[in-house]
Amino acid sequence: MAAKKTRTPNVQNDSWVVIAAESVIDTQKQDSDPAFVRLRNPSTDAASLYMLGSGDVQLYEVKAFEEDFHSWFVGQTVQRDGRLLFVTPMDPLYLILPYLIKSGKEGKFQPVDQVVTDEEFPACSRLLSCTRSLASMHHIAEEKEVGSLKFHRYSQEKTMDWLKKKVERTVIALKKRNISVGEGVKSTTYVKVKSESDSNEEDYLRYAHGLISEYISEDLSKALLTHLHLPELTSPKETEPRSKKRKLSDNPVEAGEDYTKFNSADFARKPPKKMTAAQKSLAKVDKTGMKPLSSFFSPKVKAEKK
């Protein structure tokens, strides 16, 4: 029978399995090594891990994919930590934006190197070395050139247009990958009954808005919603009629199959969970799409079983 679950915390971990953009290990230009740095997360305002490529020319985002009860075999070794890290290129403007907004309150044109500074996160000034930073500043700010110097002032109007384009790009990618975006699909691991027409344009827009909102402040996220002409979802009831159309599984979620769903992204390893009656009923609630989308997208969501 199963050994007693007296699991020791995994403290000696010093190894990570990573899927990284090839440009990270591009050994053509070896002036410096890439580095993991901590920068202020524009959505949570707290520290998050990013990577700056060789010579700081490219910013990368570092995200972890995690499922409970997973470990790696790497060659002839065991790695207990079953996380998979993704290192993907990131638009540095998302990280620069909060600094620009903050200084924009004064309404003055300022040189960006004076704006993008942070005592708590000294590495933030390196963002300006990224090739795309200065070249794309006009998407979020008005520019003024005096002699050889450039000055910038935050523009909400430009930023909204820029974010809207981001949302549109994301919608295209979601459609291309056939990713279901409606609310009713979350807990139906086995039963896939959605048809093409179920995911309408608004579902896609909202989903894409949610993805983009992970990179901007809450205020900006709300403003973007207005800019996209999407009403805020205040009551869960509003989403009900649409999701009712979806055929739902009549079978309760079986405890034995619960593991196939990704149900915890917490770093702290949790003791094994059994599906309680309460959770089962919650799972049913989920299927009827009662959960407001906004809660799904809240920045600090820990992918807790809902």
Binding site: A2, I19, F36, K192
Partner: protein, 191 residues
Amino acid sequence: MEIQNLFVSDFLIDFGHKEPAITVFKRRRRPIQPITHRDWRKPEIIEFASLFTARMSCNSSVTRVHVSSVGQTPRVPVHLMPCEIEHNGPAQVSQYLTATMKDRKYEKTVSFRGRGLKGQELSCPQGYTGLVLKEINKTGSDQEDRTVKVSSVFDKVTYWNLETAPNSDDTIVMAMDWPELAEAIHGPVDD
């Protein structure tokens, strides 16, 4: 219960709460339905602040990645197992896993600790490469910069499910979509 293929028995292996379910209930196999739409649940991919879970490094510290030696780094087989193994370090993986692996048309199967596992090989997304990073020169201080090296590289991942046949709804399959979505979110926009 551990009838065959005892893995190195010193390690505690935890298949999670699914464990008793297998012996107590006879599980009904469900047909795999054709999947046209995919439910990409975003929270699978989560933000995190530090590589080092045990010690919090301070915000100004930097972790350098030595990439210059990648060319000489060994390419290794990588398996994502559906259980937590309380061990970090060497193990007889090929003896206890790969040696008994069966390669069928649509899935791989293996018996591991008496469990029937079903797996599938996934390639890294286009333009991406698999790296195993390992910290070197561990120093005690949290203030100091750290260094990691690329200890192995891979371009394919074999992931294993407990009982269920691999399908496009598996979370790691969906996670492999992340780079393409990230490109949409972060790629340059037109003027």
